[in-house]
Symmetry: C2
Subunit: 218 residues, 2 copies
Amino acid sequence: MSKPEQDQFSPRQSAVLEEALSLLVEGGEKALTTAGVARAANCSKESLYKWFGDRDGLLAAMIAYQASKVRTYEPTGGKLTREELRAHLLTFVRDLVDVLSGEVSLALNRLSIGQAGAGGGKLGRLMLERGRGPIGKRAMALLDAGRRSGLLDFSDGGEAYQTLYGLAVSDLHVRMLLGVSPETARKEFGSRAERAVDAFLSLYGAANKWEEPRIRHA
Amino acid sequence: MSKPEQDQFSPRQSAVLEEALSLLVEGGEKALTTAGVARAANCSKESLYKWFGDRDGLLAAMIAYQASKVRTYEPTGGKLTREELRAHLLTFVRDLVDVLSGEVSLALNRLSIGQAGAGGGKLGRLMLERGRGPIGKRAMALLDAGRRSGLLDFSDGGEAYQTLYGLAVSDLHVRMLLGVSPETARKEFGSRAERAVDAFLSLYGAANKWEEPRIRHA
DNA sequence: CTCATTTAGTACCGTACGGTACGGTTCGTT
DNA sequence: AACGAACCGTACCGTACGGTACTAAATGAG
């Protein structure tokens, strides 16, 4: 395609965006002033406006820049064994949790959500397209591979994905967005990744391939 | 206790808070100016500051006021039949979804999340205590009743509740917070309430009481 | 009727931020 | 060496908001 995707931002601009992300993480939106970004990044406000148009352009650029850093590597091509599928699901859940509990992700989500109520919610849409989109696609591909390998049984991949997501994340994302410390949340997460995958397989595993029909309760 | 809980706000103050909530819903946080609230509610800024201290106090009062409106009725006392438990779970899930997709709830969550990054996250804590707390307690009581009636099998009620919540809500709450229209989301929700309850019962139903060990996939 | 309290309405102040303009400097090109 | 582009630093402007002070009207008590 004609989108190089790498030189969307020059190195200088990337450094500025990185600095802006730092400011956002540690101070929230109200700390993200144009003057503050310029000072922190050792650049001039004039350059900011030349590069990003206005403040909203800067915010959008921050989201696009952060999204460009996550690589959406395709995990599976051929057939899967039972153990491979389970391992891949576990990896996906853990990666998902790592991303969601990341401070940059939380800060950007807070930013987008905070201004979603007002004008249009442009940032929210960006966040959904650039953030959730790729992650969902990756998961759907994995689930589809599981089905093609005869290990999973579902008709609507989106529905299955939502179930997996819900089992893995539950309300912890919103609670973190509301201020629950990521450490506390991560502790809860850790013990839940395996249970989520087990529960998902219990719900969507092809009947004859998974001999344990329900998860164990200690 | 010495907290009447009803006269926490005078009728006049309640009317003002109602007006403030309207402003917040339709314009987001940036539309919620002290002058705007005073104008919309036909009161003076001075009264606002006298009643609520400062702007943050007003925001906190809005959350407390909205929380005071949800009644946390105790649904069950005695033993439950299988059908009753399922019906109660379905009702809980539908109520939960209605609350989460309500415009006032979304606006208040956006407000709390938007300022959670910055100073302290006082509003976020309020939101967690006053909003999630009662709902979770109600669900836990229901789940416990189900267990006492021999219909559910779990050791950690919180864990079971999180599973139910995740199955019911998945990522739709965050997506609505990011700007997905509540109508679109509610359409997804409707078809998911029953699947969520079925999946939950499939996971946590006492083995000998629920003859269908796994949900059906059309 | 009179006085006291409360509150609406308004005017005002200080500040902080978004956005712009300008002088000075660095760096690459010819 | 001379020129020009890009850019940094800063100063500046307009505005909008949070918060306060003051006046006038309304309401209620004695």
